[in-house]
């Protein structure tokens, strides 16, 4: 069992990775708990960023710049996703006057 003070004072890759995990968990929590489609999308962004953080940590760890390229591609995909996702949200809102995912259950029955 490592010394707790060491854990605080000596920051390494592990800390970044754990931070990424925590961030991802918070994102999952957001998707699970919230009803607003916008918040859910933001939570997804959080998860993507947690992934990016992890990728960059590993890139640093292994000294491989490919991780940086990969993170950039993730960002581009995230941007595309946000663009399309928000368009969908707007389209849904136009028809239904709400973006509550709990009430979007037309396919259920």
């Amino acid at each position: 069992m490592p010394n707790l003070s060491t854990v605080f004072s000596e920051v390494g890759y592990a800390h970044f990775l754990v931070l990424g995990a925590v961030l991802f968990a918070i994102g999952v929590g957001g998707v699970l708990l919230r009803r607003n489609a916008l918040i859910i999308m933001m939570s997804i962004e959080l998860m993507l960023n947690a992934g990016n953080l992890t990728i960059l940590t590993f890139a640093r760890m292994h000294g491989d710049l490919g991780g940086h390229s990969f993170a950039m591609i993730v960002m581009a995909v995230a941007a595309a996703e946000v663009a399309v996702g928000l368009a969908i949200v707007v389209a849904i809102f136009r028809g239904r006057r709400h973006v509550d995912v709990d009430r979007m259950n037309l396919l259920k029955h």
Binding site: A14, L19, L38, I39, M42, M61, A79, V89, F93
Partner: protein, 267 residues
């Protein structure tokens, strides 16, 4: 009101931390290894061309101290500054993300997200990913945030019940599962020996082309040499996304009178 106060506190914290991190970084780059602490790290001199030392036997060789090694005190300051910056920005990140998922006001949520992204950008810098840090700020904190804000302004409808409570059992289970995952990752990572951690503050070596690691030039070389096809593919993805977004968000046309006019009059 609370939200604004919190936001202000976060902002101040960010500025302070940013300064400190900058300082720590500058020194860390010069003094990667504290020679007194232990043998040189065998596993992680981040060089593109080296075989990262994974064999156990290599551990026994005692690396000579790097030339121009900083004093012990400088090393300690570096260590403390690094830790301070990390914990601070980590706290910002977590706080901001908690803002996102808890605030009822959407604008507050977006602001929390922006804070998270800024703090993440700073963390990227700690990982020597300077270019990515800037991109993070431009793309996320700039573009995506603006997009969100626009949409929020379009919708502008406060929620009656922000939390989705249907399927509670499943969500609790999922929360427990998530906690278990985080715990497992954390419990693995917490075993990392201290000397390993210390060595990680070393600045990575330059790339083969002589660029600083993580700089625009280095990332550019990597992106356009090794990952050209994914780059082009993702550009196409963006194009499709733009077209798709327009197609989806465009208002549905009403019945056009032109259609009726086009019908030939048979009588």
């Amino acid at each position: 009101m609370t939200a604004r106060v919190l936001t202000a506190i976060l902002a101040v914290l960010f500025v302070v931390l940013a300064f400190d991190a900058g300082a720590a970084h500058a020194q860390g780059a010069v003094a990667p290894v504290d020679a007194k602490i232990g043998p040189a790290p065998d596993f992680d001199p981040p060089r593109s061309a080296t075989t990262a030392g994974k064999t156990v036997s290599k551990r026994d060789s005692v690396a000579s101290p790097a030339p121009g090694a900083p004093t012990n005190a400088a090393a300690k300051r570096t260590k403390g500054g690094m830790a301070f910056a990390f914990w601070g920005f980590a706290a910002l990140t977590v706080l901001g993300s908690l803002f996102v998922i808890t605030r009822r006001n959407l604008i507050t949520a977006v602001m929390g997200m922006v804070g998270t992204f800024f703090a993440l950008a700073a963390l990227y810098m700690l990982l020597y990913a300077h270019f990515l840090a800037i991109i993070q700020m431009l793309v996320y904190a700039g573009a995506i945030m603006v997009l969100f804000v626009f949409v929020i302004m379009i919708l502008n409808k406060p929620e009656d019940e922000p939390f989705a409570l249907s399927g509670r059992v499943g969500k609790v289970l999922a929360g427990l599962a998530m906690a278990y995952l985080v715990f497992r990752i954390g419990s693995v990572l917490i075993d990392v020996p201290a000397h390993v951690t210390m060595a990680q503050n070393a600045a990575p070596a330059r790339t083969a082309a002589g660029d600083d690691w993580g700089s625009t030039a280095a990332v550019g070389m990597n992106l356009f040499n090794d990952y050209l096809f994914p780059f082009e593919a993702v550009s196409l993805t963006l194009l499709i996304a733009v077209v798709g977004a327009i197609a989806i968000a465009r208002p549905l046309k009403d019945d056009e009178p032109a259609a009726e006019a086009a019908t030939p009059g048979g009588h």
